[in-house]
Symmetry: C2
Subunit: 498 residues, 2 copies
């Protein structure tokens, strides 16, 4: 029997998925295991796998199969959704001229390298020419893609990370947050100033002990070591494939606070990947929905669950045991203060969950203005300082702590920033609903029992994969579209009520 | 300017090389890092990469480019040799019908699985049907390939591992060895019986200490950790790519003897890979010549250099230091007896360098007879016992210690066995010549200085890659074709003269 066009497509996407998975493992190896001398050969391997994948996806027969399959769509709704995701992947791969893609890729390589020198040197002027080239080509790509997708240029950029993201929706959410934030931060900082101050916990904390603690916590949260690993890398990440999820962290021997929460954050990403529906492993519909939901899962585990007072009551004795800690600085109350500290700061990656949205809203507004042409790159440092001032009441003393701090723009990641805060909002909304559906969750977390929460996430988020839009996942799970309500209520409850 | 047919071929083979390298790293990861739950996804990744590679190599345009390039060959002799190797790779990939290849692949998977159960159960009869199917299909493949290559069916099988291997040559070498072996083994065993007996070294030897010793030894021999790693796996191997060579070993806490020599053996393979000419990294002519030369490099490092009395005088104090050893069992003389012990034994992988060729010659004769149809599989156990008796004067008490011991035949590795002994002969011949060219080598090894030896190997073996045949590499390096002379002289010198 001749296979149908849709059958041919599923086989083609199975191969693409194997290529993507291979790249995932090779990328993980590059960050964790590879000796420096292997870099050139690895770059070539990754380049060739990417090129072959692009070729498989954009081959002429794929257009024909798609058209044929769409003319007589499959019956099963998951197959239908799969076909829709195939079309989406094909559209993204074909809507921009390959020469332009190549030019942008070369420009971002140059610019990222330039940025690595410019940031420590605080040299925004030195970065400007190469960043300008990246911006110019990114706008060109965005306009091509927007014409095909039928959206704005900036939306077309976001679409790669968060399918269907719309400026209007995000504006409403972010404007609301931006109006609420300054006063809220004031009140929290004021309240914290009146409370007992944080007692520093004296180190050192040997890496082996930190790692043992992290593994124990991963076990509690539900990370499956038969289908994953924990390793060390310079930048923490979650990689691999759903049946073999590789998470990493970094350790500082003078501080365990970051590594522990970093691992739990990555664990949230890993649980999402691991929970994607097994029968659809190799197909587009079986993949994670987008970066907003992905980030919602890491933030839900880290911010909502693991920084909750309930879980910290379970964490404190484990931490004491791990490092033979004794004394008031090791108390549950002190650990809660450490993990719940809020302060205005200049660096996004060091920000707490309350001030983090300010950093994201700033970048969202600036990058959109740059893409639209409403802001010139030369004016970025001033616009950055003014914007941060309006949101957090502070100004960076230099560009290193201002518009040079992130790798995203030099490396071509335009339209990515909003997903961090969309994820934080979704995390609060999902966690609120999970606790409403299953009121025992907080007390279960207090006993280190994540099974109830994980079960809820499996059903309402992970198993949905890319079957529907992010918005539909949220509506089905929580009864309403993404909103700021739950996040604001969470912040009030955690930082102001207690 | 339009690229020439040869340029197109080099680009095609660059991609193939990146795919092979990717598979190398994924295979290494599978054996060293991958959690069990990742097996299915990994098998799919490897299958797809293999399939894509096969597709790239057998695509119709490759035939056209080859014909066109051969009609006006490149000027540079390395390019000419590269084109020859491209043709060879293409021939091997296309000369057998894909359905037959698929059938053999499925049959070997089944048979290998069956063998894993049959060996511990000593159940040759149970293995017979699936092994018979493997043999039948292997013969069919061999006959197809032989017709294209213009050689015997068995030579066509060997050709995959050792290009150009001829039965006539191997017969001459192996018959000579077989005639010399029984009496030589008798004399060595008799001599050793008259010597002081081996003092067992009491353990345990913690894995971390064994590994630290192995790393120190690798550093001495010239393993470059900026371009490679040492890890642990169930079966030791050398994988990865030339710029990132991954070797593995296994540790037993009651014995360091095996792990140390195992690592040095794999290091010999790694040095060969690492020493291949950098400008030809991605091309067929830049690859290792074949398994005989590959094995010659591991055996040269392990057997010729590292088990030499000179190196053992350097090794003994390092071993004592590694394990805080003290007493007569830790002496240089005892270590020399341990690493130079010869005995008739049933299991190939445990055999010493003197009796090892008997195991190989036995298998060579048997597998050739099976391929030719001169021997029926049902008669294998008896033929095995008779053959071993003739060569070593011992008979296996059961098939588990006889014809069921090796994975090669069930897994489809017919024609591989001879390369072990061809490699041992080449190792002796190359080492003898290296020491003649550079008489300081033995005393350098006594000081743990491998630079002189490695430099000689780089020039005379590694840098030659696949530019010429194995035979020409040997002739150019040593002045004569592969012979038994150096090996026999080495055995006499090491085991009988002292």
């Amino acid at each position: 029997m001749t296979p149908s066009a849709y059958d041919r497509l599923t086989e083609r996407f199975r191969r693409l998925n194997a290529l993507t998975g291979s790249r995932g493992v090779l990328g993980w190896d590059m960050a964790t295991m590879m000796p420096d001398g292997g870099a050139e050969a690895r770059a070539e391997q990754l380049e060739v796998l990417t090129m072959l994948g692009h070729g498989l996806l954009t081959a002429p027969e794929v257009s024909e199969w798609l058209a044929e399959a769409e003319s007589a769509p499959p019956d099963d709704p998951w197959d239908t959704a799969n076909l829709r995701e195939m079309r989406r992947a094909h559209l993204h791969a074909t809507c921009v001229d390959e020469n332009l893609v190549g030019a942008l890729s070369r420009a971002t390589s140059r610019c990222e390298m330039r940025w690595r020198a410019a940031r420590p040197d605080n040299d925004f002027q030195g970065l400007l020419p190469s960043l300008d080239e990246v911006l110019r080509l990114t706008r060109e790509v965005a306009e091509h893609r927007a014409a095909v997708l039928g959206c704005s240029a900036y939306e077309a950029l976001m679409d790669e990370y968060e399918p269907g993201a719309r400026e209007e929706t995000i504006d409403a959410l972010f404007d609301d947050l931006a109006g609420w934030l300054p006063n809220t931060v004031d009140r929290i900082v004021e309240k914290q100033e009146q409370q007992e101050s944080i007692l520093p916990i004296p180190g050192p904390f040997p890496q082996a002990k930190q790692e043992a603690l992290c593994r124990r916590l991963l076990g509690l949260v539900g990370f499956d070591f038969a289908h994953g690993r924990l390793d060390t890398s310079h930048h923490p990440f979650c990689g691999g494939v759903p049946d073999d999820v590789r998470i990493t962290t970094r350790y500082r021997e003078d501080d365990f606070v970051q590594s522990v929460m970093g691992v739990l954050h990555e664990c949230g990403h890993a649980l999402y990947e691991r929970g994607l529906p097994a029968p659809w492993r190799s197909q587009p519909v079986g993949g994670a929905r987008g970066m907003a939901l992905h980030e919602s899962q890491s933030l839900l585990i880290e911010m909502q669950a693991c920084r909750s007072p309930e879980f910290i009551s379970c964490l404190a004795p484990l931490v004491r045991e791990a490092f033979d800690g004794d004394g008031p600085e090791w108390s549950e109350a002190n650990l809660r203060r450490i993990y719940g500290h809020v302060q205005r700061s200049l660096i996004r990656v060091d920000a707490d969950e309350v001030t983090y949205p300010a950093h994201v809203i700033l970048r969202y507004r600036l990058e959109r203005a740059l893409i639209r042409g409403d802001l010139q790159l030369a004016d970025l440092p001033g616009a950055w300082a003014d914007g941060l001032d309006a949101l957090l009441g502070i100004r960076p003393p230099d560009d290193r702590q201002g518009c040079l701090q992130d790798i995203h723009w030099p490396s071509g990641g335009w339209g990515y920033f909003p997903t961090y805060t969309l994820g934080a909002l979704a995390a609060a909304q999902l966690f609120e609903r999970a606790c409403a559906d299953r009121p025992d969750i907080p007390s279960e977390l207090g006993r280190g029992d994540f099974r109830g929460l994980l079960g809820w996430l499996r059903t309402h988020v992970h198993q949905r994969a890319s079957f529907t839009s992010t918005d539909e996942v949220l509506r089905d799970a929580t009864g309403s579209a993404l909103a700021t309500t739950a996040f604001k209520a969470h912040v009030e409850r955690r930082y102001l009520v207690r």
